[in-house]
Subunit: 346 residues, 2 copies
DNA sequence: CTGAAAGCGCTTACAG
DNA sequence: CTGAAAGCGCTTACAG
């Protein structure tokens, strides 16, 4: 096979100096239009492809970024990383994907390696609030973007799902459906994603002048079991004369647990109680006719935006601050009917 | 901040030539033990980190590989790609992740770019049988490893889940449980994964001298709906005097569809009919006590092994051929009880 | 607008 | 065992 054409081959054939060829091909510096055209034509004819290794060497830009995950196996991280690396690939940027598995020692090791790799930037994926400071304390010389749902100082580049917006949207949606006694069943306090959703939900309820049913958010876990337990509690309360006609659940597992409790007691969804979940992780597993109304945080888009932001930061065309990605609402039978039966879900 | 030490800094400080420093640091060529020790000590003292960009430039090894997915969004591809990129990251290899989205034009574009990137190798993820020939016809100059469940010529490097082995194991497991009338409900013929599972299952049944219930595999789709339809058919057949006491389903959706049909007709699982699924995609979504017996193809391990294989191929330490990854069996209530109820699943 | 030349930081024949 | 020198393929002051 014929050796690849180098830029000096192009220069020689086009009858110009290497300098001029470089300038013409990169569209930088003054080159007469005709010279430029001739060089470009020659390059195409010779099927010239610039050697990125040489270019990297001389410019110091590696066209490689680091993607550092707190835990790559997490449900949160995987689609996010995929979204990011896909975007990067499309932009012809390579990624060194590293999984710190929550261990600072591993993290520091990795940071050292990334430096030797001369990466152009770093994308940090995860929710560990300590991570940020760790990385920054290393005073990494390249831009760092955080893709995370936890709050991070406004001095960093951050991309995150809008949990607060989702909480607000959930309340507004249920109010719009005419529901008047809306509860919120959520996971543990101090989980930043939980807190943000609670805040948004509370805000929207207050704006509508509506108290939160059950006296406020019910805190528990992300497990279906908790959804069922919360459901029992709500049924008790209803038996005691406290009406509940809609629930915003912090994830789909809780939503299904609630439904299970209600169905066992003959309470119909959505006829008696409408349920909105969060995550849409069960899409593709659940039946295709959308049994559950839920919010899809669109994590691969979060990853994509974070990667885009990183390239902008490298290019100096963005400023620090947090960018939110709006979760998409997926409307399903748990709020608009017809009445759900157990086998309608899976 | 002080400039990074270069190799010539190390050489100067250690009082040796650049040549010797390079040899000592890379452990190549003859260098006296004391010289080597001195150089290494000096390098450590100066915190020398070799510039990988320079090394790549001169050696032509980019320490970057391409990861080309037929469709990165596919359920199959995502964990596989994550497994691969994680392994690569640990080995300090960057990846350009590209999603051809089934389009040959995009594919060829990407291959051109990867060449300009001077990648060290290529990992192709996906099941499209045309993909392989496409890539190879480009006579890519670097090693190519296929991570795929479709059959590929023995002249390539291939890593794939052992579908045949899983089919065999499913039959043997159900036979071992004492079941005697075992059916197989699967998806479409000519899907390579389906065919391999059918082959393995058929083989094990034949070895045990047992006919396949229902006269042979029941072909349909991967949808839960098909599982339910197949369940109805099996119930009819049972009503007609043809016993069935176990089923191997081609995926978990089918398994759940089967269960739904049986439960509606008062047929108990596993008491009357044991069910084994495939995929374990619902782990983490289903209840934690393993409602469903199923095979986990361990796709991230497939990706990991494929990446490992790619690095071996680049290093010349492996030979072409197919390596299988054994799916892991996850035992659950659908085969060992107690009797499953609808809400036990999700 | 164009070109000769230096230089990026390594590896590796080649010669001793 | 050790070293002087060439060279990898580009970019970019510097000089014209």
């Amino acid at each position: 096979m014929p050796k690849r054409a180098s830029m000096s081959d192009v220069a020689r054939v086009a009858g110009v100096s290497l300098t001029t060829a470089s300038r013409a091909l990169n569209g930088v510096g003054r080159v007469s239009a005709e010279t430029r055209a001739r060089v470009i034509e020659t390059a195409e004819r010779l099927q010239f492809q610039p050697d990125m290794l040489a270019r990297s060497f001389v410019t110091g830009r590696s066209f490689i970024v680091g993607v550092l995950a707190e835990s790559a196996r997490g449900r949160f991280s995987m689609p996010l990383i995929m979204g990011a690396t896909n975007y990067l690939g499309r932009e012809n940027i390579a990624a060194v994907t590293l999984d710190a598995r929550g261990t600072p020692r591993i993290l520091n090791d990795y940071l050292k390696r990334l430096r030797a790799r001369r990466i152009d930037g770093l994308l940090v994926v995860g929710d560990d609030p300590n991570r940020a400071s760790l990385v920054l304390s290393e005073d990494f010389a390249v831009p760092v973007v955080f893709a995370s749902s936890s709050a991070t100082p406004e001095t960093d580049y951050v991309v995150a799902p809008d949990n607060r917006g989702a909480g607000r949207a959930a309340a507004e949606y249920l109010i719009g459906l005419g529901r008047r006694n809306i509860a919120h069943v959520t996971a543990a306090v101090h989980d930043p994603a939980v807190d943000a959703r609670v805040d948004g939900f509370t805000e929207a309820m207050r704006s509508a002048g509506m108290p939160i049913a059950m006296g406020g958010p019910l805190y528990g876990s992300y497990l279906q079991r908790w959804g069922t337990a919360a459901g029992e509690r709500i049924l008790d309360s209803m038996a005691g004369g406290q009406p509940v006609d809609a629930i915003f659940a912090a994830n789909d597992e809780i939503a299904i647990g609630l439904f299970a409790a209600f169905h066992r007691h003959g309470v119909r969804v959505p006829d008696d109680i409408a349920i909105v979940g969060y995550d849409n992780r069960l899409a593709g597993v659940m039946r295709p006719d959308h049994p559950l109304s839920t919010f899809d945080p669109d994590l691969s888009t979060v990853g994509e935006r974070a990667a885009e932001r990183l390239l902008q930061a490298i290019g100096g065309t963005t400023t620090p601050g947090i960018h939110y990605v709006q979760p998409t609402f997926v409307e399903g039978r748990s709020t608009i009917g017809p009445t759900l039966e157990p086998y309608d879900i899976l």
